[in-house]
Structure formats: structure tokens, C-alpha cells
Symmetry: C2
Amino acid sequence: MNDNKILLSANEMPSQWYNILPDITTPMAPPLHPGTKQPAAASDFAAIFPDALIAQEFSPDSFVDIPDEVREAYALSRPTPLIRAYALEKRLQTPAKIFFKYEGVNSAGSHKSNTALAQAYYNKQAGVKRLVTETGAGQWGSALSAACKRYGLGCEVFMVKVSYDQKPYRRTFMQLFGAEVHASPSDLTQAGRKILAEHPHSPGSLAIAISEAVELAVQRDDTKYALGSVLNHVLLHQTIIGEEARLQMEKAGAYPDIVIACAGGGSNFAGLGFSFLRDKLRGTNTALRVVAVEPASCPTLTKGVFAYDFGDESGYTPLMKMYTLGHSFIPDKIHAGGLRYHGMSPIVSHLYHDKQIEAEAYTQQEIFEAAVLFAETEGIVPAPESAHAIRSAIVHAEACKASGEAKTILFNLSGHGFFDLGSYDAYLQHRLIEHKSPLEHIQESIDRLPVI
Amino acid sequence: MNDNKILLSANEMPSQWYNILPDITTPMAPPLHPGTKQPAAASDFAAIFPDALIAQEFSPDSFVDIPDEVREAYALSRPTPLIRAYALEKRLQTPAKIFFKYEGVNSAGSHKSNTALAQAYYNKQAGVKRLVTETGAGQWGSALSAACKRYGLGCEVFMVKVSYDQKPYRRTFMQLFGAEVHASPSDLTQAGRKILAEHPHSPGSLAIAISEAVELAVQRDDTKYALGSVLNHVLLHQTIIGEEARLQMEKAGAYPDIVIACAGGGSNFAGLGFSFLRDKLRGTNTALRVVAVEPASCPTLTKGVFAYDFGDESGYTPLMKMYTLGHSFIPDKIHAGGLRYHGMSPIVSHLYHDKQIEAEAYTQQEIFEAAVLFAETEGIVPAPESAHAIRSAIVHAEACKASGEAKTILFNLSGHGFFDLGSYDAYLQHRLIEHKSPLEHIQESIDRLPVI
């Protein structure tokens, strides 16, 4: 019998996160203070993050110890399985070997718990009483709610309105773990009220929800802000995925030719990809391909510009040099809500600009076709976000079929789709709205980029 | 670090199911033909089941080989983890050791896949083209839909109306795997039309949905019927849970004092419990307690009678000697839809009557309180059905705290609650309807039991 799952025991779980920064040898543009537009100091982040996380944001160390308490929290669902997709390979009749890392097995159902648990832990250590955050599809908010409950912190979540309406059960999930959930834009913040005054029916965006959360965090002494992607420390925490996957691929006697993950802000992509990219950056495997996959309607890497921009709508955050569609860009209401973000992690952006990684974009129709094929063969209903990675893996596996090459493909199945059945229903009923090319709107928002 | 998960590799997966029948030494009452009321022959089942499953229904062997193709299908999500609930123990401050077997990690999210894959396989081998079934909460229908898709069989599901309305995403899940789904009672069958004529707003019941499914299966040559619980062969397939759990408890250096599972028709209870009960029946561990947990509003074991009754509403099935509330009993619309069944597996009933096992019943309020405590500590949102087992485990762990005994408790977490967030929402909003004691209705339907 084909043993399709490669497992690690809790004691085999890596004890360190991997920090890619020291392996990046080309100079990275620093974050800038939003007011002065001068390089931001660590102290500029102190109003919203605890010191330990700020230190990680700028860490010079290649590996960072995972605190025992965080490893214990991880152990509830980690190490996650690495699975050989034999049934998918057979259906595609491809000579390619397809592996995937499955991050949907934890409480909140996605990779987001990896950083949620770490952030809640460091905030608790710093005496913080409450975290406030934004969430798109709800995966991040779910993960943070569960993590806050574990460490006895309060949790308040601004949920992008379109997802709040599409996914009421995600809200319930967060409430079940004690979180307060608001649809964003809300009338609780100046940022939200301003948007509502101009666009009373705004579907919201991650950029707006971030503004609302940051605004509240800055106002309250006992409250900090938590971000679910983009920043260096968030990506750092996600590398537990790739560090595990390296051990598991070794157990399987394999090494990937192509590593694939979807990318919204870049955290699950970095989580799986960076640990392998290390070999490329260090020159031991220059042929490795690492592919970020995004939605055609929010094509940050493939159609955006590499420029300084705000992480949020109102310009509260530091300016970051990144691929961006402009912070005023409101993506279409696609079902992969977790990928509706105008920007991209500065590290991922820098690596893309340096041509160390690649990017691809697919439509909703394409990704749901791939999702259903995957569910039928591998028996897991994927999150629409993760289905972007599946689509890409299938495209590369089909290329192998055409060329006869038996490449090894590894992708990240970042979460399950049990909360996305409404979206699947739209697909099955042929009610998916395939939006027009967003190019015109992108140009408008890019024209409004801050001048540095 | 406490390694809380006890895992098995796919190659460690047991290769045989355990058949408890040869270990039951007191005489069991045979099933009776619904017309003649004489003991039913194997051939009486031929219209609705393939020969291989009928043979298993009456098998004299203690162990039955699992076909390689079924083991390969199992391997997508099996062996499932056995988890030591350290966090729950700590919260309860109990000296008890609490273990649970987690069956929610597969595609359909519950133990039901264990028999769905086996039944679909044997039907496919027999040349059957299509399976028709009923489903309550949707767990069984989801599992059978996915299994039929795997083996290229058509699938048609009668879903109890109250669940059809409460859980639209379950319907989408089944459709995603190609199934046709009807709310039951429907106007597609004589059984359904009769109910609708008398009770146009009937919430449905498993007994009615079974009648509808059996009626269609009998009418069509290329179609067979599949049942998700109750029958011997279904329980047999579920013993993969207990056979794995025995190996895992051994790895953990532990053996349960108390084994607990929820019971609707009895299949997840049998799945975990029978493999341990074997030791009690064979006299090697007479102190073992095995506890079936049911909802207070559908208390088949705790308030039913041990009598011959039909498995369905219309009297199409053989008569089985079992604990029953009467086949005309319509349980309240509780959120644990998978436990809304009037009867109980004949084997489980016989063992209960012989005092080899125990039974407990809890209210919805009690089980949701336990579910939320479990989610907060162990990070898994359980199905309301499974929360019955959690409640019982907590009760026994608290008894240990009071007595100072460090007992070992093992329960079955039969499924996750990602499709039940609407029910959790009702609980969180204090909108759970706690029904009155059903005793009066039970007496009415018991008075209508068939006369043998």
C-alpha cells in the first residue's frame, strides 16, 4: 500500500523558526515613518507591537528559538501532515510527483494559527490585555480568537464587510472563542466613519479594516494590534511549515523542483517557501522554482508596481517598499477573501523583484475547477485561497505530462473550505461572477500612491 | 514537552475489522421478515444490499479482512490521531487521564467515511451503479457522496428536512461530490407523500428518510440502498476506530477504565467501544466500563423499550429486536441531528440489555457547555453529536477529581463542528430550545409498536 502521509511526532517538531533576512544579500529598502518619511526606528512600532515582536521584525539571526509554551500550543495540531497526492497524480496521468503540506488540521482551519499563537504568547508576556485585529475571509480572525482565548487575552476583530456577510459562521466561530466581531468599515473608528460617509455600501477591504484596528490599538493603553500577514515577524512564525516540510520531504526521500503557495499578504507562501528558498539563496540549489499564486482580480505581484505604499487605507502604518495595487484599491468581491489585499509582504516583494521567485494569477473559475478536482481525488475540500496553489500545481503537473518530466511539486494547502461551502454553491450553480480585468482601477489607485 | 498525539503510520493501520458477534454468548434475537414476521433469511436483504455486505451482516468470524482497496481509501485520512487531552485535564484539575480518538480529520468530517468507503467498494464490486440513502445531520450523506465519487457510483440522498434547512452547506458538500439531495419527507416516494399528506410541515426523521430511500432502491435494478448505522456490517466497518485505538493506547502505555461514545444508531459507539469490550466479553477485563451517550430528547437506551420494531417509519425494513422509542416517534428538532433516531443497533441493544454496557443522557445545554469548554482547551470545535461524549467524559473526570481516582478515560470525538456553527450561534445567543420531557410522546409511539 502507498503510504501517502509523511508524519512527524510532536518531538520531531522543529524548535526554531527560519529568518530569511540574513540570507538576502541585495539591500532591502527600509520601512519609512508615515509622517516624516524617514526610515522607521524600532521604537516607531512600540505603540502597536510588544518589544519581542519588534525585535523579531528586525532580527539578524538566521534561526529564532520557538518558546516552549508556543511549541506546546503548536502541538495541539502540529506537526501537520505532508501528503503525497497519489490520487490526484493518477487522475492527471502525470509523471510528476505531487506533495502537499496540509495546514487545515488545526482549530481555526488554516496556517494562521502558527503566528496567532506566537503573537498572543508574546503579547501576554508583555502584559498586554487585549489584541485588536482585522480579518478578511475570517481565517486570521478565527486563529487569533482561539489563540487569545488560550492565553487569556481579550480579542476584537474588524471583519471585512463582504466576508462578514458571506460567512456568518466565521463570525460565530470567533464569538465562540470569546472575540468581539465588527463588520468593517464600522462607525467605531474615524477611519471607518470616513469611508462610510463616502461609500455607505462599501464592501470593505483589508486595508480599511487594518486602519480601524490600528486606530483602536493606538488609543488604548492595554491593547496592542496584531497583523496576520505581510510583516517580517509574521512570516518568521510561518516558517514552521517549511521547516517541518523539509524534514518530511527528506523522510519521503524527495526534494521539490517547484514549491507553490497562494499569496495574499505572503505569509503562507513564505511559510512553506522560504525554508526551501534558503538553498537557492545560499547557492546550493539554484534550479529551485518557488511560485506565488494570486487571484487574477487582485494581481499584486503580476500587475502591481514595486513602490513605497501604506499597509492600510488611511495611511496609519509605516510606508513599506512592496508590490502594490495602491492602498486605495478595493478588490472585487471574490470568494478567496484572504487574498483581497492591495500589497505584498516587503520580503516577498523584494525576492520577486530580485527574480528569486515567480508569480502566477488565476481566475475564480479556474481555481474552483481545481478545487473540485482536488476534493474528488484527495478527499479534502480546500479553502478558495488554497485552491490557487492547487490550480498552479495542476498546471505544472500537466506541463510535466506534456514534457514527460517527472518533476517533484510541493504546494501548501493552507486551509480547508468547510466555511466556504456558500462559495462552492455559487460555483456549482454557475453563479460565480467573473469580474472584468481590474487594470483600469489599478491604474487609478496606483496614481494615488504616496510620493516619497 | 508533552507529546499529546499518538500517531500510527498508514502501514500500522490494522488490516482487519473486529466482529463482536462470536464473542456474544447470550442468544441474540434474529431479525424478522416485515411481512411474515418469521426470522429473515440472508436472501431477504438481497433487494437492497450486495451479497458481500449481507455475508458480513451474518459473519461468524471474529476478524474480517479489510480489502486492500478500502485500506488505500482509508489511508487518505487514517489512521486517525489518538490525542491526550492535557489542556482539558488541566482546566478540570482532574487526576483522570483523558484520551480521545479524533475521527473528524477526513473529507466528510466524521467517522461515517469508515463504512461509506467499504459499502461503496462492495457495491461497486457487485456491479451496482447507484446508491441511495438517508442522512440526518448530513455526516453520513457527506461521507457516502465522497465514497461514491471515489468509486464512480451515483449517489442520491434523502436528507431529514430539519437538517436540510438548518445546514444548507451540508447539502452543498454532497452536491460538490456529485450527489442528488432531496429534503425528506419528499413527494418522490409513496412513503414521503403519505407523511406530507398528514403532516405538511413535518420536520422529517431518519425513520421517514430511510423509508424513502429503501422504497427507491427496491424499485430500481441498478440501485442499492446504504445505511449509515444500526446494522451489523456497518458497525463492523467502524471497528477500524477501536482497533487503531487499542494500538495507540498501547503505545501510550495506557488502557482505558471507561470508554465513552455518543450513540444515535450506535455505529461510532461500536466503532470505538467493541474493540475494548472484547476484553470484557472474553473475561480478561471485567471491570471495564463502556458508556453510550444519547440526547435527553431522544433517549433510546435510557427511556426506550427492548422490543421488536421497524428500522424505518413505513415498515419496509426487517423487524429488529432493539431498544426503541417506537418507529413513529419524531424526535425534537435538536441540533445533534445525527442522534435523532428512534432505535438502536440490535447488537448495542443486546449488550445493553445484558448489562455489558451503560448509557447516559444529557440535554442540549449540557452538551454545548461541554463543547465550548473543549474547543477552548483542546482547540477543536466538535460536532454537537460528539459533544455528548465530551460531556460524559467531563462528568467522569470530575467524579475522579472528587474521589481522587486517576482513572483513564477514552472517548470518541466522532466529528468536527465546522458545519454546526449555526447551532453554536443559537447556543451563544441563548436561543437553544430545551424541549420538554418527551416521555408522553414516547409512550404514544411505543403503544404503536408492531405486535409480534
